[in-house]
């Protein structure tokens, strides 16, 4: 639903990078790998948290 606050595996806080990551990869069409490097998300376990995430709040919102 929302981006997890921390990486499931190592516990690094990844939630804070989500909005910048989304903006830069979806709208500015940057290479996700480079964006993650610049954000300091280095380990594969943290990278998959951002790469594989899909925001679902907007889809769930009408069914309160």
């Amino acid at each position: 639903m929302m981006i997890p606050v921390r990486c499931f595996t190592c516990g690094k806080v990844v939630g804070e990078h989500w909005e910048e990551f989304k903006q830069r990869t979806k709208e500015d069409d940057e290479n996700p790998a480079e964006v993650l490097d610049e954000l300091g998300v280095e380990r594969p376990c943290c990278r998959r948290m951002l790469v594989s995430h899909k925001d679902l709040v907007d889809i769930v919102a009408p069914y309160q």
Partner: protein, 249 residues
């Protein structure tokens, strides 16, 4: 208390990441420090919520879990285990509630990261709550862990033992971590983690330096790397003292 020789290799500007060499410790003590950093250094983390209004799409419990995972700055020595700090959150939609919206009753304690989205709020949705952050250890819950992905490995030396035969297979010599070369510490990333790049055409032998460990420490932002390591070492000594007292006749 014995002295250890500590030498930093690199550290980030925000003091959340560091790599350093410690000399004169046993493997058991090195692992003790690592474990203390992960499980024994207490940090503040939201544990109890009083929800006043939650008309968001998430249940109270889910929001409680998300808030709990937000790291809070914990100045060492200021709080006792079990002490609580109250924080409040009040956001009205349409907006996103961020960790930075948390208002703390104590100036020393605030969210270490302000950009963590807690929940998206639509029109007519509101989130208002009071939260109690409690000081506890990583042993109790992972949200209290100060160290993230803390690890160590042996410092290694590379010795050139001779030349590679002219027609010998050129095999990769992959090594990761930090090597010591003539008293100089070289992170292996500098030569692409492959010893062939540093010693072309040479036959090399890699050996561990006894009693020297390269620590790789990252914190979640609740305290700086220095504080985390010092607190971890102090907790080890405190436990040793406790043991000594308990077994005395």
């Amino acid at each position: 208390m014995s002295e250890f020789d500590v030498e930093f290799i690199d550290r980030s500007e925000d003091d959340r990441d560091a790599r350093f060499v410690v000399r004169g410790v046993t493997p058991a003590f090195a692992n003790g420090i690592r474990r203390a950093m992960v499980a024994d250094v207490p940090t503040l983390s939201i544990d109890t919520l009083r929800v006043i209004e939650n008309s968001s799409v998430m249940f109270d419990e889910m929001i409680g879990l998300r808030l709990g995972l937000v790291p809070l700055t914990t100045p060492p020595g200021e709080f006792e285990a079990g002490e609580t700090v109250t924080l409040a959150l009040d956001v009205e939609g349409p907006a996103t509630a961020y960790s930075g919206d948390l208002v703390s009753a104590d100036d020393l304690v605030k969210p270490a990261d302000e950009n963590v989205p807690i929940i998206d709020l639509k029109e007519n949705q509101r989130l208002e709550l009071e939260a109690e952050a409690v000081l506890d250890r990583g042993k109790t819950h992972a949200k209290h862990q100060g160290g993230v992905a803390v690890g160590y490995r042996h410092l290694q030396t590379v010795e050139v033992v001779g030349d590679l035969g002219e027609f010998e297979d050129d095999e990769p010599q992959i090594i990761r971590g930090v090597i010591e070369d003539d008293g100089e510490l070289v992170p292996t990333e500098e030569f692409g983690n492959d010893l062939r790049n540093r010693y072309p055409g040479k036959e090399v032998r890699v050996e561990d330096v006894p009693g020297a460990f390269v620590f790789d420490v990252e914190t979640d932002g609740s305290m700086s790397v220095d504080d985390l390591v010092l607190e971890a070492v102090d907790s080890l000594y405190a436990r040793a003292d406790e043991l000594e007292e308990a077994v005395q006749l």
